[in-house]
Symmetry: C2
């Protein structure tokens, strides 16, 4: 078995990035900053800066850096995509620098794309953090749900759950009510139940009405709204995908909300380490860097 070399991996998103230096399969240095692709103009210089700081090593880049607002366009691979196909689809910038492609799916009337999440998903399988046939979710601004089959991303759906919550919290009728903390409490679970009705625009106005009629304290409205949005997402996805267990790739805070919503829908939920999944994903591909 060839010795795993030292290399750099960058998870480079729209608004921030994470940089890892990996030696012998272990992360030996890492950093997170806000130099997402929208904050960078000269990517050659930005990549040289990373090497100056973390080591003059081969580099694997994933995420929006491969989009039309990033460095170079790494075209989407149509699903199903397994680790071998993903590695074969790397966009080579030079002999020791490559960008991971995104994945697309066109199912029925609806299309979907991911860019960056594919490394985590396939890495989670590669590291046996999840089974090769499993339903995975990556909560966040644009929540990804992926059905893995034989270790490949078979199909997936993105829901704008986090973005919609942020929009409602910042703008419009409900903003004044949604300033409170979000926790897994009775209001959150009431929201999850309401979300099962899959009637989001009416349920959202119900938050306003409940406030006006004094039926719910406004300090609980943010938890209710979060439960409503996450619950709508979970209910729609459990109707769309099979799987008795949902594997959640998330940190503890957002992870806890999805665990509660999945369990309230009668399914089992298991948290998996999203960062460990990403590292496993880049380790599985670094052999492609000459």
């Amino acid at each position: 078995m060839p010795r795993v070399r030292s290399f750099l991996a960058v998870d480079w998103g729209t608004t921030n990035r994470r940089i890892y230096r990996i030696e012998d399969g272990q992360v030996v240095a890492s950093a997170r900053d806000e130099l997402g692709v929208t904050a960078v103009e000269d990517f050659d210089a930005a990549v040289a800066d990373i090497r100056a700081q973390f080591g003059d090593l081969p580099m694997l880049l994933a995420g929006m850096v491969g989009s039309n607002i990033g460095w170079k366009l790494a075209p989407y691979l149509p699903a199903p995509v397994d680790m071998a196909r993903l590695a074969a689809g790397l966009l080579r910038i030079d002999a020791r620098t490559a960008i991971v492609p995104g994945v697309s799916v066109v199912a029925e009337s609806r299309a979907d794309v991911m860019r960056g999440e594919e490394v985590q998903l396939l890495g989670a399988v590669a590291a046996a953090l999840v089974p090769p046939d499993a339903l995975l979710v990556q909560p966040g601004t644009h929540c990804k749900w992926a059905e893995m089959k034989n270790g490949a991303i078979a199909r997936f759906t993105t829901a704008m759950t986090g973005e919609l919550f942020a929009l409602l919290r910042a703008h419009g009728l409900l903003a004044a009510q949604l300033g409170g903390d979000v926790t897994v409490n009775a209001s959150f679970l009431d929201g999850v139940t309401e979300g099962q009705r899959r009637d989001l625009m009416a349920s959202l106005f119900g938050i306003r009405a409940a406030g006006l009629l004094g039926l719910r304290d406004n300090k609980d409205a943010a938890s209710y709204a979060s439960g409503l949005l996450i619950g709508s997402d979970v209910a729609a996805r459990l109707a769309e995908f099979s799987g008795e267990t949902v594997h959640i790739l998330a940190g503890p805070q957002l992870g806890a909300l999805y665990v509660a919503a999945v369990e309230a829908n009668g399914r089992a939920a298991v948290l998996a380490d999203a960062e460990a999944a990403f590292i496993a994903g880049v380790l599985a591909m670094e052999g492609q860097l000459s």
Copy 2:
């Protein structure tokens, strides 16, 4: 039959208001301005200004002017509410000035409120613009759907359809795609069909994916998004309320979108004149002003 006197009616909303002078059952003067309740500090002075401009007459006020951000709080009447109950519930400011109360409903887990729309709904029945048993919709920022029974508002649901469209158009991921005009075209009807899936947060992300994958021209994205939101609303409401015909109280532009979405869901749609309904509503109550 007593002679119908001259009086003033004001439909006073959050951001604008409409003022009518009515003589012998006919509108003889009207105005629309942007002095909604959030733009007014001294309501006594604002009402005096209206009388100085339109005549020193009895006045009936409806809408947010009766809310906690308006002039005086006219408490909600719980549904069912017919014209007699609404008229009996007027909040009298003085002998010749009164505010119409709003209507509330608490059904299952969800509460709802209206304020101003009740005049149109009951006026539409009073003027025989719609039958006394009918499903009515008032499209807009907060779209109201009301089930009328024996001429009363039996129950109703508000969907944040228009507000959500405005939020998505102004902020966030989809804003750059949604600048185009909205018309009833093939993209609008595709959106209506997708809306029947009642999976809004995923369908919204599909707009982004279709743009990235070149599956839909961005000039058509606004029509698709409008169809998706209106279609979600229509599909949810036709599952909630009975009625083979939907009576739409709206102007021609928004009305045409709802007609198309209702017909695409296999029901008949009929437009009714929203202003005529409001005038009929205030005419039915003006006898309460001494």
